[in-house]
Subunit: 195 residues, 2 copies
């Protein structure tokens, strides 16, 4: 009954990774179909067949990022392998490590928030989900790091951390030095994570 037809010749996940990297690096408008064709080696028809139009590709790339990167960060924030304060420090240090690795892409979630979220409702919803995941994991880690703190206060501190993280990611794309970012992390540790 169901006739399977010709099988797909490329690895969809591989292709999606390449698409993600393009949007991550260059943003929505800064990435053309021609760039995607070049990077994936696929023809237009195959791309549209597998991922839909450009907007759909972008959204799939962003959701892929959410699964691959954000969920990993959330797991690290929740993982009890090291003390919660160190987990929070590790999270805030992600932007520093990226700069040290000369990775200029920043955080796709942050880039999407700045770039596309205000223009497209689906993107805005996706970024809100990503933020919410981080917010919740940060609040849990803060509560664990500062026993006795009220839930509301932990959430407030988590909100600060999320904003600091986003700010560092954006600032680093504009040339923040490792030293500036380290100062920021240091001061957050000494003030926000102390009171």
């Amino acid at each position: 009954m169901l006739n399977p037809g010709r099988p797909r010749e490329f690895d969809e996940t591989d292709a999606l990774n390449k698409i993600m990297n393009l949007f991550w690096q260059n943003g929505y408008e800064g990435t053309g179909l021609s760039d995607i064709i070049k990077a994936t080696g696929l023809a237009k028809g195959s791309l549209y067949g597998a991922f839909g139009n450009k907007q759909s590709m972008y959204l799939k790339a962003l959701m892929h990022y959410e699964q691959q990167v954000i969920d990993t960060a959330v797991a690290a924030l929740r993982g009890p392998s090291i003390p919660p304060l160190e987990r929070l420090d590790a999270f805030l240090s992600l932007p520093i490590a990226a700069i040290a690795d000369e990775d200029s892409r920043g955080c796709f979630l942050c880039n999407a928030s700045a770039d596309r979220a205000s223009l497209d409702e689906e993107t805005k919803a996706a970024t809100k989900r990503g933020h919410e995941k981080l917010r919740a994991a940060l609040a849990t880690a803060v509560a664990a790091a500062l026993p006795g703190i009220s839930t509301q206060r932990a959430e407030r501190k988590a909100e600060v951390l999320l904003n600091v993280y986003t700010g560092m990611r954006i600032m680093s794309r504009a040339g923040s030095s490792v030293g500036m970012l380290e100062s920021t992390v240091q001061e957050v540790q000494d003030s926000v994570m102390m009171v």
Copy 2:
């Protein structure tokens, strides 16, 4: 000797304001010459004659923002009319006021940092200048607000404030509520500005 030629018929500052608003709202790639023509009512030739190509228009718009908005914020941070702690609070509350006014443009300096700074060196230099102005003014205000604090510590706190500000501006474009932003400001006041 010097022949003056036909005088310009439009107000350059008016036009630059309109151009600035477009790039501010929609970013570099998201703004087309056609949008600029529509908004200013000017023909292509007049625009190129007065402002150069698109890249040059963007840069002029960003520098105009720096003069009009950033310099105003810096002056408010340095102005001794109210206590330094309140000046810092007012600065951090700018993103909240913008949302309350349903102004979805965010901060052009922050948008440019996310959008264009990593792709164009001139834009990166312009954003760095803007950041440096804010950094210095914040550090001065912090030092005044927390007498006895070391210069280095004041600069560290200023760096945190700059990152929090940038983060709030970006997050608000992705749907941060007034409540979330108020939590952030409140917590910064209670922790960063206390120790």
